[in-house]
Symmetry: C2
Subunit: 750 residues, 2 copies
């Protein structure tokens, strides 16, 4: 084996950090009474038959959160965060995830085997329960999958003496697996976090807290009769197959090892098709971190793995690993506050880590990580188990687990309109991503800034941009809706109410039109309006001089102008999806309502406390500013910021009802007469839109609507209507729309 | 009847000019030998069973060009122009339209009855041939349909004493019809244009040229036994029905009158559903105008019609109309250069026209029209027949007809890439409109500036924007193609060749990548490029310092940068439609090739003579400018504008191959290896695009392509690929693409 030599000879600009990562985190669901939840796997999470992100592990209450392959540790942790958040918000609101690897106080009866449809999986779990005990199977950990980058492998291969890339890759991963097992104790020391078992878990009491019960002989290990060689791949494959044949293992996957070869279902395939990646299985849940593993740990382990490739391989593999297993067990069962035994040669690892940093000139961040490890080596109280042991009370971590679990629960439920880690994306897209993860639709962000998602289930792929731009709409319909003239013509031709009006390219022609609008409420506007420039509104009709002036103003902005009927009434947004109106929203201009006590400025501050209010469209509602426009608006009503309004008295702060300037969103879906919803849906259908925001002006919602007597006018159709504003409202229950998009795109999974 | 009173009492701002118009023009197809063409109705025009724009009238060679309803005379004439042009360019290239109402020298045998599928229509024509003679039926005219505006009628109705709008409208149109017949002689005087018949047409020779044979008793009139009353609608309906019952008329439509009530198939419907518009049928073809009727005539007739409503109605309708018919016949048969007889009271009409102008303050244009009419009244030689009589040679207009017909033919065939009257629209849209008209697909421009068309056939509606943005593409696919990152990911995932590369958001990460691209040709560029800013190309690989500099430059433009493989080779555009590559184009940078005689400046001038070259994308190729950039380019090659290049020697004028900067388009569809076309088609299919411009860089087109060994790289997919550039090329046959769009949108008509 010359792997370490290869690395040491590699050029500085070798893509040493190129790798991909995947995480699998297990955790028990807990109920409000702080017992293992006896509820079934959350229905909101759809089907476990295919869910790529959220599964159940051994028991019905043991969630397994699985990230897709990610091109960096940062990305892996970000997506784990999203999956964790979805898991939390899909459980009963008072359930939470047990943050510790060791289960809470519980008995065998509290553990219900996962109710999977797959008969083999259920029987397999039953067998494990009989062999190891159901409680033992409820220990949880986090698995760290790592694949070295293709360019990294290719460049190393090219400078090697190997002629087969497959053989090279297999040897590379096998060396890494060997070294991992050899130096596994290093991770047990740093990240072991299962110091005690709650009463009843072990047959005999421990004499003292330890680093990691789970990584010790008390943990999740095969019978001592099972010996699998890691000396070469053929032996490894043969040994495991042997135990399966003899029935000592019920399946290949029952071979528990701190590292597992991955990429194929059956080990034998590695011989011909190659190992694709490794799974490191020794990580206890870090109860101080909401995701059970910190960013620093992920990167330290990455560097550690690279260091393992730098270090000379052992000559006598199986002998070396046997000794290493014993050393690891010793360190795992040592008191957390004791130092490493002398035979644990940490310096070799530290040197290799630093050699990697220096040889490949890695960023300072990596040296900082090594420095942290050095401190932890010097001060055991800085290790995870060292910190955790301080939380033990009455030989129990029950109270600490409750506290941390509750904190993480509250964190997951905060700002529920967003998906943490993705807050720079549009709210509607964040919501849609939440729903996709929840239902087990595969998700990939193709372009984050462009809100461009790829969603798929089996062979069925759907692309989504901006939350609802999908394959379900045909291309020309949104283009028609983007053009007001075209929209109006299509709607009018189909017999729907639109503002009457005419388009003019000459003032003479527009003046000739005066007789037709003389006594009517009208709007004169340039055909293309920018920021409302050139618009004149005459609510009580215009005299000829004013009309002429309005024409001049409009013609300053465009060569074509519109003279349209002005429609009085209240504007409502109808959200139509696939022929059905799913939500109706009333938007009200920014305002405060008095209480006889507070000044207007104080009322604004109070209103801004609403957790739904934020800035820059990162929240469903916007913070109200008391700026120039608002002060002018107050002044016009005879108010100042220090005016104290009487109870119920309203002060308007804006003339426009936009949410973006602090307006209120009021969900009136349930109150709105069905006839208007039907009309809006019919309008969308008539233009051929799958998704459509229909803006109707309704003078009197108590009158019903029909196509013949609409009692309303459509002023706009919107081709990419906002969804989040219907969901998280200032007032009203709110309507969840993004789940409907997912359900319509993937009817086969609902 | 108080119609004139109503008009005279109406407010000045009555929308008096509000009306819609439709034109129907007949003309005989002529062959190169200047005989009536014996060819069948042009196949290119699709099916006469439904064609809304181009039909055959009486004989197989008599085209009938029919405009849709237009909201102004200008619009009606514009669309007539388009239909005329389509008709011309759908006939044999040497056929032309006979510009005169009177047929050319011909015999009964030259007239083949239109070969219509409809048995009734064929028999009806056979009957007419027997009754009137086939040659007589070959006289051609132009019909002028006019509907008064809804607001105009409504406002007049509101101030009337009528309680039924239907009764009011019927009376209004009936009055207009009466008055039209009463004063028809006025139009015969001005616009009569059938002064002589060619030898053999009439049984006896005329003594002198006349104004309008077609509008005289020699013309296309019913038997003298047919008397239909215009006194009231009931009598009108009853009289015609009577003659149909007795067999004196074979159908209601055989009643020939200079004005016809319109809007329903059967006259009786007018009684219950109302007259919708009038058809004025007395217009001879104006052989001086390419469209057979001038804009001024259209507007003069419009004003004339309004004047008719201003003038008191006759008391004794039928008696008055009988006298009027005689007067019209007298004027029609008078020598073109004679003045009107005294009993023809033109002054009443002129006064009414001027009253309309002054009462409703119409623009000066209308007074100019009246002034022209006054001159024509004073000088008969200014009337159409007055002008035409001067063209009579040897008692024949054959030579004049040939000359005018040829001129109009050449006009229609000039700039064949455009659709005259619509030159402000995109070329591809103009071509698509041409094809729609040709195949008889209904066409409406919903927004001209936005290139937004409505096309329909029966109930099947399709909207088209920019020539190929249609319902056939789903919404998200063009959005994916608009995003280069997304496109690349999708293509790469599907196994197609795209430039290798990576995206970076930090310089450190990009520098670490250096080892992977050290010796390769690369491009460093900001993710979003504007006008090529921030792009560095290293065709022979970059040294680290240059690479670092390139990163800095790129990061100045964007927070994300791309380092991509630079692909050497020639770029080709593959136009893919519905899974098939329909055209391949090579674009070559602006250049001239020497001839050993001309200077470069002269060569540029010569090249710019190409009728395909124009400015501002109004032509398929652009004029080459010898501007600063071109001069610099020449200088780099050691040339000046006055350099005389040797024969075959090429001077490059631009570094970029854009057509918009004077580049050449070369159609290589037939030469390109099928394997590349298939690959391009497969790429479009894999992203789900119906229409797609695939840009491939091919180093060597002699090598075949396959998905496994593509021998090319895709650098871009275009979601709204230009079509015209494939059709009218600098070199190569060119590929017509827009007809394929029409055929795919409307497979039922092909």
């Amino acid at each position: 084996m010359t792997m370490n030599y290869l690395l040491q000879q590699a050029p500085q600009n070798l893509p040493i950090l190129q790798a991909s990562f995947g995480l699998e985190r297990e955790s028990l669901r807990m109920n409000a009474a702080h017992h293992i939840a006896q509820t079934s796997h959350p229905e909101k999470l759809g089907s476990r038959n295919f869910h790529p992100y959220i599964q159940t592990d051994y028991s019905e209450s043991q969630l397994e959160l699985i990230t897709p392959v990610s091109s960096s540790t940062k990305e892996a942790r970000r997506v784990l965060g999203a999956i964790t958040e979805v898991a939390y918000r899909s459980m009963e609101a008072d359930e939470y995830l047990w943050p510790l690897s060791m289960p809470p106080k519980a008995s065998e009866e509290d553990i219900r085997i996962a109710q999977l449809d797959d008969a083999f999986e259920y029987q397999y779990r039953q067998g494990l329960g009989q062999r190891y005990g159901k409680l033992l199977q409820s220990m949880s950990g986090i698995h760290y999958n790592m694949e070295l980058g293709p360019d990294l492998i290719q460049q190393l291969f090219e400078t090697s003496s190997y002629s087969s890339r497959l053989a090279f890759t297999n040897d590379l991963y096998l060396k890494l697996a060997q070294q991992f097992l050899r130096y596994r104790w290093f991770l047990t020391y740093l990240y072991g976090a299962s110091p005690i078992a709650e009463t009843g878990f072990l047959k005999e009491d421990l004499e003292h807290p330890v680093r990691s019960l789970r990584n010790s002989s008390y943990g999740y290990v095969n019978a001592s009769t099972i010996h699998v060689s890691f000396a070469d791949l053929a032996s490894y494959v043969r040994d495991i197959e042997h135990y399966v044949e003899t029935g000592d293992l019920s399946a290949e996957k029952e071979f528990y090892s701190a590292v597992r070869l991955r990429g194929h279902k059956h080990n034998r395939a590695y011989l011909t098709e190659g190992i694709r990646y490794l799974e490191f299985r020794c990580f206890d849940l870090n109860p101080f971190d909401t995701l059970a593993i910190s960013q620093e740990t992920l990167d330290t382990v990455h560097l550690f793995a690279l260091a393992l490739l730098w270090i000379d391989s052992p000559e006598q593999v199986d002998e070396t690993l046997k000794t290493a297993t014993e050393l690891n067990n010793q360190i795992a069962l040592a008191h957390p506050l004791t130092p490493l035994p002398l035979e644990a040669d940490a310096q070799t690892i530290l040197d290799a880590m630093e050699a990697i940093i220096s040889h490949f000139q890695l960023e300072e961040y990596y040296q900082d990580l090594v420095d942290t490890v050095k401190q932890q080596l010097a001060q055991p109280e800085l290790t995870l188990s060292g910190q955790l042991v301080r939380q033990v009370k009455d030989q129990s971590l029950q109270e600490f687990g409750r506290m941390q679990g509750q904190t993480f629960h509250d964190h997951a439920w905060s700002a529920p309109y967003a998906l943490k880690g993705y807050e720079e994306m549009e709210l509607s897209t964040q919501m849609l991503m939440f729903d996709a993860i929840q239902k087990g639709v595969h998700l990939e962000i193709l372009d984050e800034e462009d809100q461009f998602l790829k969603l798929w289930h089996k062979d069925h792929v759907e692309y989504v941009k901006n939350g609802n731009m999908t394959s379900k709409d045909n291309y020309v319909v949104p283009l028609a809706m983007a053009n007001k003239t075209v929209t109006k013509k299509i709607l009018a031709r189909a017999g729907f109410p639109v503002p009457a009006g005419a388009e003019f390219s000459s003032k003479a022609a527009a003046l000739r039109y005066y007789g037709q609008i003389e006594k009517r409420a009208i709007v004169v506007k340039p055909k293309s309006t920018n920021f409302g420039l050139g618009i004149s509104i005459f609510q009580d009709g215009a005299n000829l001089a004013d009309y002429e002036k309005a024409l001049d103003i409009a013609f300053l902005e465009d060569t074509q102008i519109l003279v349209e009927e002005f429609i009085a009434g209240t504007e409502y947004r109808f959200f139509v999806l696939d022929g059905r109106c799913e939500a109706v929203l009333l938007r009200v201009a920014a305002n405060v309502v008095g209480d006889g006590i507070h000044t207007i400025a104080e009322l604004v501050d109070l209103k801004n406390q609403d957790p739904l209010r934020g800035r820059d469209h990162r929240s469903p509602l916007e913070i109200i500013n008391l700026g120039e426009i608002e002060l002018l608006m107050l002044d016009q009503q005879g108010y100042r910021p220090d005016t104290i309004l009487e109870a119920g008295q309203k002060a308007e702060l804006r003339g426009n009802s936009n949410i973006s300037t602090g307006g209120d969103s009021i969900d009136v879906t349930n109150q709105m007469d069905e006839s208007y919803k039907q009309l809006a849906a019919d309008m969308a259908t008539s233009i051929g839109a799958w998704v459509c925001g229909v803006d109707l002006i309704i003078p009197d919602t108590t009158l019903p609507s029909s196509k013949e007597t609409p009692n309303c006018t459509c002023i706009e159709l919107n081709f990419n209507p906002s969804m989040y504003m219907h969901t998280y409202c200032y007032q009203g229950p709110g309507q969840a729309l993004t789940p409907k998009i997912i359900a319509k795109l993937f009817p086969e999974i609902v």
